[in-house]
């Protein structure tokens, strides 16, 4: 159990610091609330409204693009850690993977998937 004591102390410090910093403003700062100040900041969008709303299918294209590159990163990180041991098969394999990915990107680009019309 003994080796967990430092961790427990760390957790305690974290909780105390968090609670203190979150609340210290209330006592030290000036307090002049307006409606805009109290609402959550969401880049100018209304934070609370109905979720049953239609939105453009274009968002899905962006989301797909995001997933593709997200997956690329997921593959690249572990590969980068061990690529010395994988050479040369690992390097060729990753080049093939990246080329396929880039062709996908060019395809989406040329087909107008990135034009926000």
């Amino acid at each position: 159990m003994e080796q967990y004591i430092p961790i427990a102390i760390m957790i305690l410090i974290g909780v105390v610091a968090g609670v203190v910093f979150a609340n210290i403003n209330r006592f030290l700062g000036p307090h002049k609330p307006t409606e805009e100040k109290l609402s959550t900041y969401e880049s100018g969008m209304e934070p609370v409204r109905t979720a049953r709303e239609r939105f453009s299918v274009k968002f899905y294209l962006v989301a797909m693009l995001f997933i593709v590159f997200d997956i690329e990163i997921v593959f690249l990180y572990p590969w980068a850690v061990v690529f010395r041991q994988l050479a040369p098969a690992g390097i060729i394999g990753m080049i093939v993977f990246l080329v396929i990915l880039v062709i996908g990107l060019i395809y989406e680009w040329r087909k107008g998937g990135m034009d926000w019309r």
Binding site: A89, I103, I106, Y107, R110, K111
Partner: protein, 502 residues
């Protein structure tokens, strides 16, 4: 390790060729925007080259990529079948009015066909539950997009959406089953599952109950792919709404991939290797999950429901959809007998089914091109307007029924002989009775064509020379294989060699 990888890659060449084809075709579609012919040409070359390489592969069994995929005669047989049907579909699509109308971009259509083909080839070779899932997803996603390709037709969008929803559900079920089997055995590869199962089953009834559920869930996922009743609800709507070329492709190649996967998964994963007293070419099933009874039930249900519902159809495309459900039922009978004889009967049946089913669909497509209808009532009097096409249609439909001297008879004969040799007389009787039902609705089409005319005489339909050649190319095997079938039967028997099977 690199040597191992190169050895594996050398056996993967057909799939690699197809992958390169997909990429090149996509790029060509972007560069040559005006040309309508270049993408189909690239896809055609890729499919042909892949087919030639598959034919040249050694007649032995290999496990490649740490057992992920199997390269064996069984897989190669189905790969050739799938590639052949893909080539036929490309040929059909070139002359399909509905697809080429309104200056529609068709580049992606052919790319998706190549992707679908790749997915089905991986299904034929999958030897690991993860690979099984990935291959099914690759082929499913391509076919969702393809079935809705003519999206301004309302039923095409409907078909696509229904397909997606059913597909998502069934692949979810299958994943659940896969995770349960992995939890029980700790293995993904089929042969390792079969060696890890006996100690698991000794633990008691809880384990075998879990195994039974897992097996049923995976069979549900695979049953969706081959449109077995009760997982068939998507099939008629998708087959009716999709472009008819895709309908033909799904009803033959997609089923071939699904069957190859189902046969391999069920027989290798649940192989009881402790039973060695059986004769050559037979095997036993592990206790715990009695998939044989499941497949018998599915088979009887599938052919009966498929045939009985087909009677009521007025749209020929939909009728052929139900008939293809029924044919999946016939073919499942071959899996029940647990012998190589049964497996080879399924494979023989698939080859014959490819020619007769593609033939029937092609003629329906040609008629739809000309009269713009697939309604059986509109086929009245076509016997005199397009005599050659209608005689060909008659031969294909008679072959689908399974009457001699067409090839369909030989396919059914081998299935029934395999059943009778293993003592499944009642199942053979059910199959034969179903063929009688099938006779009724196929002949109903022919009655409209030949015996019932229209009041006013219409002009004869013109048939292009190339179209005539394609019909003849499909007609010749349908008739010839009914008379001279021993080389094909021998080939099917030689191709039952499967990785991990005795």
């Amino acid at each position: 390790m690199t040597d191992r990888l190169l050895h594996d890659l050398a056996l993967m060449v057909p799939e690699t060729v197809l992958t390169v084809t997909i990429i090149v075709a996509l790029v060509a579609d972007i560069i040559f925007r005006r040309s309508r012919a270049i993408v189909p040409a690239i896809v055609m070359i890729g499919l042909t080259v892949a087919g030639i390489i598959v034919l040249g592969q050694p007649h032995e069994s290999f496990a490649i990529f740490s057992g992920m995929l199997a390269v064996d005669p069984f897989a190669s047989f189905f790969k050739v079948l799938i590639l052949l049907s893909a080539i036929l579909v490309v040929v059909f699509s070139l002359g399909f009015n509905e697809l080429n109308a309104n200056g529609r971009k068709v580049g992606e259509y052919y790319v998706l066909i190549a992707a679908l083909t790749l997915g089905m080839m991986l299904m034929a070779g999958a030897n690991n539950m993860l690979m099984m899932y990935l291959a099914i997803e690759l082929s499913s996603i391509s076919s969702y997009a393809l079935s809705g390709y003519t999206r301004e037709a309302e039923d095409a969008s409907e078909a696509s959406l229904k397909y997606v929803i059913y597909g998502a559900l069934s692949s979810g079920l299958m994943l659940y089953g896969i995770s349960m089997i992995y939890g029980l055995t700790g293995h993904f590869t089929f042969s390792e599952i079969s060696s890890a199962l006996p100690p698991v089953l000794e633990q008691g009834s809880t384990a075998s109950l879990a195994l039974m559920f897992a097996g049923l869930l995976i069979v549900a996922g695979l049953g969706y792919k081959i449109s077995a009743v009760p997982f068939h609800f998507w099939a008629p709507d998708v087959y009716e709404g999709a472009p008819i070329t895709i309908t033909a492709f799904l009803s033959v190649a997609s089923k071939a991939g699904g069957f190859a996967l189902m046969i391999r998964f069920l027989s290798v994963s649940f192989l009881d290797s402790s039973v060695v007293t059986l004769g050559a070419g037979s095997w036993a099933v592990l206790p715990g999950f009695d998939w044989r009874s499941v497949v018998v039930a599915l088979s009887v249900l599938t052919m009966t429901v498929g045939n009985l519902v087909a009677i009521w159809q007025n749209n020929l495309k939909r009728l052929l959809a139900y008939s293809s459900i029924a044919h999946a039922g016939y073919m499942m009978m071959g899996l029940v007998v647990l012998t190589n004889e049964g497996i080879s009967a399924i494979m023989l049946y698939f080859v014959i089914y490819l020619f007769m089913n593609f033939g029937a669909f092609y003629i329906v497509m040609l008629i739809a091109n000309k009269i713009g209808s697939e309604d059986i009532e509109d086929y009245r009097g076509l016997g005199s307007r397009a005599p050659f096409l209608m005689v060909a249609l008659a031969i294909f439909l008679v072959s689908l029924t399974g009457l001699p001297p067409t090839a369909g008879f030989i396919g059914k004969l081998y299935l029934f002989v395999a059943l009778l040799n293993s003592g499944w007389v009642w199942l053979a009787v059910v199959g034969a009775l179903n063929s009688v039902i099938a006779l009724y609705y196929y002949i109903r089409v022919l009655r409209n064509v030949f015996l019932r005319g229209t009041e006013q005489a219409a002009a004869p339909l013109q048939l292009g020379r190339l179209e005539g050649v394609v019909v003849v190319l499909l007609l010749v095997p349908t008739v010839l294989l009914g008379l001279y079938f021993s080389p094909l039967a021998a080939l099917a028997q030689a191709s039952t060699k499967m990785l991990g099977m005795p």
